[in-house]
Symmetry: C2
Subunit: 345 residues, 2 copies
């Protein structure tokens, strides 16, 4: 089993208050590079940060890595617009970081990223009969809303924050459409144009790998939440008709702003939801997920779907080990969290 | 356990008759890219060839991959002078392919490759307490002889051909020294200068990763034959005094031109020899190794050292599976081999 992680950045992620993928904007730019290192090596290598949300919720990379340590799977990282170097080995898609979608053009190289990713997906040996494709890109739910709106697809989007700043995202998307001279639905049938104007480089990478692998007869699972629902919409608008599955976490499924069943029907997308039963743990990291933080990312839901029956307890234990290695569960953090909680943030 | 594979090329490999790492010079340039893909994916992806010697001996990548399929280990590929693209994820050392050592300068960027590799080796998490470092570079035993001669280290070098074209290699090295204005031993104590004038980019990469990892207290095993003996000499001449082990195959140890015990003493290098007992198989691939072809490469000896007692039979069986996947053991190949054999080549 191979998990492919498309890692990139978009300046959209720096818009105030739309992402929790990092404690502050100046460290968030390192998040995808650090996530890739955590998944590959078990902790950051040259990336100077461990991504945690402002309230101390560890990156989903910690969860996906814990699953990897329990069940074992291969990882390939796609460099799809990284703004900072990573020590993780990567397949380089020669993608630039994405611009703010409030600019006229957000991903000038959308088409070439897609084509390189498709070539890569089509080159994978037939022996690899199933691929999970995940993502890490701060701000990705806003670009997902941007692309879905440009395509005219009414999908809800989730958030890495417990309270989804949806009005803020909608305002960013509205300004983006205006800057690009678009009305909602104007890019129906031209999904790479939707990404070019309103998306991010990771969407082009995931869509390309999925298209290439499906061409070759490989089963594809989009391992993620609403960001990958938007990619599924891109694929359907590109005329890709192969069987597609989306595997995500129970935290995304529980989000009231998201109707997975409806988008599954609309996009002919098989939906699988995995529940890691984090409520059975009193570890601070898992408690943050239960409180609605992070929810998904770095292929978390898809990775959890690989855990055999009866071994989810091992995964929860391993999450504590990984978090200890990442310095997430020390007393300082716990105290800070309690202080935050008592302030009701 | 992580196996790091430094993959690169040198135009020295194109000198007529010095390497068997590919059926012909025009395909040999793809060998490192293909080896990396075989190790990562189990077969070539975008590389257009499966590396086999002129008589049909499969690349050691097939053996190392078979071990990986039996025992499981992580792989990181370092792009250290690749001349062709690979679909394997890589850590990019920004190394150019090496020039022919008969030019005045063979590796102009030796120092920057070494420094980037050292930074990478030092960045690996402490959790990774042991590293195996292997190589793939056609022509690498000739550049090994070049560097060892420039350092004044009397090491013998092995060959991927059953009959080592040692005179030819010596002649290439002599012309190289002349072109660089060097006498044997002139680079003693300045090993990066030895690589710059007489070596290849993969040597700089392996030496750098080893130096960085040793700095950090990680145990390092050089997984290879005389090419990595030359790298051990580079490390000792660079003043690196940490504990170093070299693990190689019984095929290298059986080479009369190589005295592993003597170089082990000279370079303070712990020597470990692994014997996969290929004589117990009548499969064409393993028979070629018993006939003295290939011998080592792509971390083969080091990978074999990871096989637990009693499981080498599983590895030999898996080699047949991998070879079948690579199309190495079909009737055509076997017939060709028999024809070659009957011609006494």
């Amino acid at each position: 089993m191979r998990v492919i992680l498309a890692a990139g950045t978009t300046e959209t992620g720096l818009v105030d208050g739309i992402s929790a993928a990092g404690a502050a904007p100046e460290v968030m730019v390192h998040t995808p590079a650090a996530d890739a290192e955590i998944l590959v090596y078990g902790e950051p290598a040259i990336a100077p940060v461990t991504p945690v949300s402002p309230t101390g919720c560890p990156t989903p990379a910690a969860i996906t890595r814990a699953v990897r340590e329990v069940v074992g799977f291969d990882v390939t990282v796609l460099a799809a617009g990284l703004a900072k170097p990573t020590a993780a080995p990567t397949v380089d898609l020669e993608a630039a970081p994405g611009a703010d979608i409030r600019e006229p053009v957000a991903v000038p190289d959308a088409e070439s990223i897609f084509e390189r990713a498709r070539e890569y997906g089509a080159s994978l040996p037939e022996d690899e009969d199933e691929l999970l494709i995940g993502e890490t890109i701060p701000g990705g739910t806003t670009t997902a809303l941007g692309v879905a709106t440009a395509l005219g697809e009414p999908i809800g989007v989730s958030s890495s924050l417990p309270a989804n700043p949806l009005e803020r995202k909608r305002a960013v998307v509205e300004r983006g459409l205006e800057a690009s001279g678009l009305e909602p639905g104007d890019c129906a049938g031209t999904p790479l144009e939707a990404i070019r104007t309103m998306g991010d480089p990771v969407q082009a990478a995931v869509a390309g790998v999925a298209a290439g692998a499906l061409d070759r007869g490989t089963r594809v699972t989009l391992a993620g939440g609403t960001q990958l629902v938007a990619v599924a919409a891109v694929l359907r608008h590109a005329g890709v008709s192969g069987r597609l599955r989306l595997t995500t976490t129970s935290f995304v499924a529980a989000d009231e702003g998201v109707d997975l069943e409806a988008v599954g029907d609309r996009l002919d997308l098989e939906i699988e939801v995995t529940d890691p039963a984090f409520e059975r743990s009193d570890h601070v990291s898992m408690a943050r997920y239960c409180a609605g933080e992070a929810k998904e990312g770095v292929g978390m839901g898809g990775a959890l779907s690989l855990v055999p029956d009866g071994r989810m307890g091992d995964v929860r234990e391993r999450i504590e080990t990984v978090c200890a290695r990442l310095g997430v569960d020390d007393d300082r953090t716990r105290t800070e969290l309690e202080t935050e909680d008592s302030r009701g943030s």
